[in-house]
Symmetry: C2
Subunit: 454 residues, 2 copies
């Protein structure tokens, strides 16, 4: 049997494991799952065949090298910073490797070794990064193949709550790491290209420079800019585009309300609040507002943020109960971001029967025979439940499909890589369709950024 | 003769050198001035007696130790990070030392050695830090001596343009390091105490949370919070105050206009702008505004910042000529802050006959016999010209007076210290009066933060 080692069996591994176990008979696979905590793996595997679960500490060289040397291909689902030890073993024992993480400098440094040993080190093959690369490169290459010249590329992804579970005023729940949501956008200005002009948005304006996106059957979304819009310009071969923009999708209205937290300083993760343990939610809000012996926290909040008495954004804050004087923060030496996260968890945690949703939206503008064209491509995936989530599906299935394709010699170009070549994305995108992960492409009129064209 | 070594003869050394030379006959002083560039020292010294100027590289151990060992006391006017080499030599050769800089960890680490050798290492004895410490501690100790209990301390300093040279709409010119002005307030939330509540202001709201201060004969100023209001709480013995706030003074209206630059991201010093060299001032502004093929940069600017057509803030931006399409930035790989500084220098550089001004404002609230009282203390110093500036005067005179007092054994408590004891501040404040640096103290009604009290 061909042996697959999965290192790390966290939240996003459910579909990955299921896919490989489902194929274990027909494809002659044996799946070993190693983790520090084996409980989740046990739950996922149940009493299925062709698999075993081992206790694995990636920092214990002996058990790690033993597990790696025993496998034919290794999937690392660990946080990105833990991949490199496994990757070095893969070089030593000449094993292929697959991850859903961004290529780190340490990973990139193994490229020559991987090539020399004819090993495929596939990375960024989850959803974002992953499906975004594949679905974008498919259309970009089709446009090029018919002689088109790319002039615009915009790409948006959102991890959101499914419409059937969307029952709060923010139209948002934490479907993934809440911390990343709270600190999103911090750490430097967002930079992108619009009609050949470089544009910069500081954090404090990020959530007020959104644009709208209409997704067929799912209504309207908004998006704010990612920090790294230019990151893939050369990887995608888009050096000559006039517009390059990547963003994060939310339901309409989220960003305007979220901006209030950003403005007040409640998303700051760089310092701790005095006596955070004993403060109430109301005290926390008040710490960011001027002192007054008489004025209410509510009115100071409205005044500071210029929120009119009939502004619908107000109800969003009431819903979060941020003015409650009795609910305590109960976090020792917490940063504003940590406290805000705790407050939001009260309202935005998924209920047992809630489902999540992954939404993706690409815009491709191009010139062909002197005319401008545009293709919009959208994808929506809804989760089954809280184990078989849309996130786990869109992350895990590409990883699983790629792993099998490497084992079967369908993906064979060696080296540290991401899925931007037809060899990789064509079979994977094709197979993803059978799992309902499908992009709807539509020819639309190219307007660019000129409203006069409309 | 007693030998004084001054290391570094930059902008703020004019009064320092003049004071010591004026006293050289009566006090039997010989002044050696060492600098990498001796031009400024030569200009300041002219053909006066009892002094020599030497070329001194503080990183050349041989010439540095030779100069230190030859002197009786050393004044370091270098940037703070360069003091420590000189300070270590002062321990080795058993010399007193004086600086106007904040006590660094490296400096503090020499405390035991300084005490063991009976050496005075006086720091923070310029204007801010320096005169602020002395003038505050004088009043605080007077209040304590009559049995009062401090409940409020607020302290504000501004380095501004003198009223007679104040001829632009911002009522501001660069009288000191322009870079520090452009990046002021960045690097973390401002933290202070108001009526026993800790308050936090993020950078993006710093310039909209100002308060007004009326200085007798000089009219109204505004102040925004410093980052470090709690820094001197224990040093001043203010552990039990209910309100502790330190701020930076500007003329009224400055902060509201400056906030526009902060909001747009133009004060960011953390990344470089693409092709900054060839962009116009107008291009620079436009880089922070959404793309439009038709709308003017002016209207996009007004719209983004919600500036009404008749808002007087608008003229401040016109005055700076930031919308000029012909003026080029001409700075290679510049950060937004560097480009903004260059644009501001066109308008805010001092003219040859401009004078500067230092303004200080303290508020002392206290309880005595069950009643609340307040003393407000203000100081204004105007410069003579662009050599004998108010900044040089208020930095250099305390340094010079302290140096002579140490030489004469009037200040003798050894160790690394700042001027918060009566031994130090009493003689210095007294002598500063004869140079026109004088605080006006006034009993005022204590209102605290309760407008209902008014």
């Amino acid at each position: 049997m061909r042996k697959i080692l999965i290192v790390g069996a966290g939240k996003s591994s459910s579909y990955l494991i299921k896919y490989l176990l489902d194929k274990s008979e027909s494809e002659n696979l044996y799946i070993t799952i190693g983790d520090l905590n084996v409980d989740n793996a046990k739950k996922l595997v149940g009493n299925r065949k062709n698999t075993s679960i081992i206790h694995l500490d990636v920092f214990d060289a002996k058990s790690r090298t033993s597990a790696v040397s025993d496998a034919d291909i290794i999937i690392s689902m660990l946080p990105a910073r833990f991949h490199v030890e496994v990757a070095k073993d893969c070089i030593t024992y000449k094993k292929h490797m697959v991850t859903a993480s961004y290529v780190s400098d340490e990973m990139q440094a193994l490229n020559e070794d991987a090539k020399a040993n004819n090993l495929v080190f596939m990375n960024e093959i989850g959803v974002d990064p992953g499906i975004d690369h594949m679905s974008a490169m498919k259309v970009i290459n089709e446009i090029r193949n018919k002689g088109g010249q790319m002039i615009l590329f915009e790409s948006f992804t959102g991890g959101l709550v499914a419409p059937e579970s969307d029952n709060n005023l923010w139209n948002y729940k934490f479907t993934w790491n809440p911390r990343n949501v709270v600190v999103a956008g911090q750490g430097g200005a967002a930079k992108f290209l619009q009609e050949n002009q470089f544009k910069y948005i500081p954090y404090n304006r990020l959530f007020r420079r959104t644009e709208f996106l209409d997704v067929p059957n799912y209504g309207r979304f908004e998006a704010y800019a990612n920090r790294d819009s230019l990151k893939y310009q050369s990887v995608y071969g888009l050096e000559n585009v006039r517009t390059l923009y990547r963003g994060t999708m939310r339901r309409v209205g989220f960003s305007r309300a979220w901006n209030v937290f950003a403005q007040l300083g409640m998303t700051d993760d760089s310092y701790t609040i005095e006596d955070s343990k004993n403060m109430s939610y109301r005290d926390f809000v008040n710490a960011f507002l001027a002192y007054s012996p008489t004025d209410s926290v509510e009115l100071k909040f409205r005044h500071a943020l210029k929120i009119d008495q009939d502004d619908i954004v107000w109800d969003k804050f009431l819903e979060l109960d941020i003015f409650n004087p009795d609910k305590k923060v109960e976090l020792e030496k917490a940063t504003p971001a940590e406290i805000l996260q705790k407050i939001l968890m009260d309202s935005w945690a998924l209920s047992d029967d809630d489902k999540d949703m992954i939404v993706m939206y690409h815009k491709f503008g191009y010139e062909l025979n002197g005319e401008k064209h545009q293709i919009d491509s959208t994808m929506v995936t809804i989760g089954e439940d809280q184990t078989y989530t849309a996130m786990a599906k869109t992350v895990g299935l590409p990883v699983a499909i790629a792993t099998l394709a490497i084992l079967n010699g369908k993906i064979k170009t060696p080296g540290v890589q991401i899925p931007v070549t037809a060899e990789v994305y064509e079979p994977i995108l094709e197979e993803l369709k059978s799992y309902g992960i499908q992009f709807i492409e539509k020819e639309v009129t190219y307007y660019g950024y000129n409203p006069l064209n409309r």
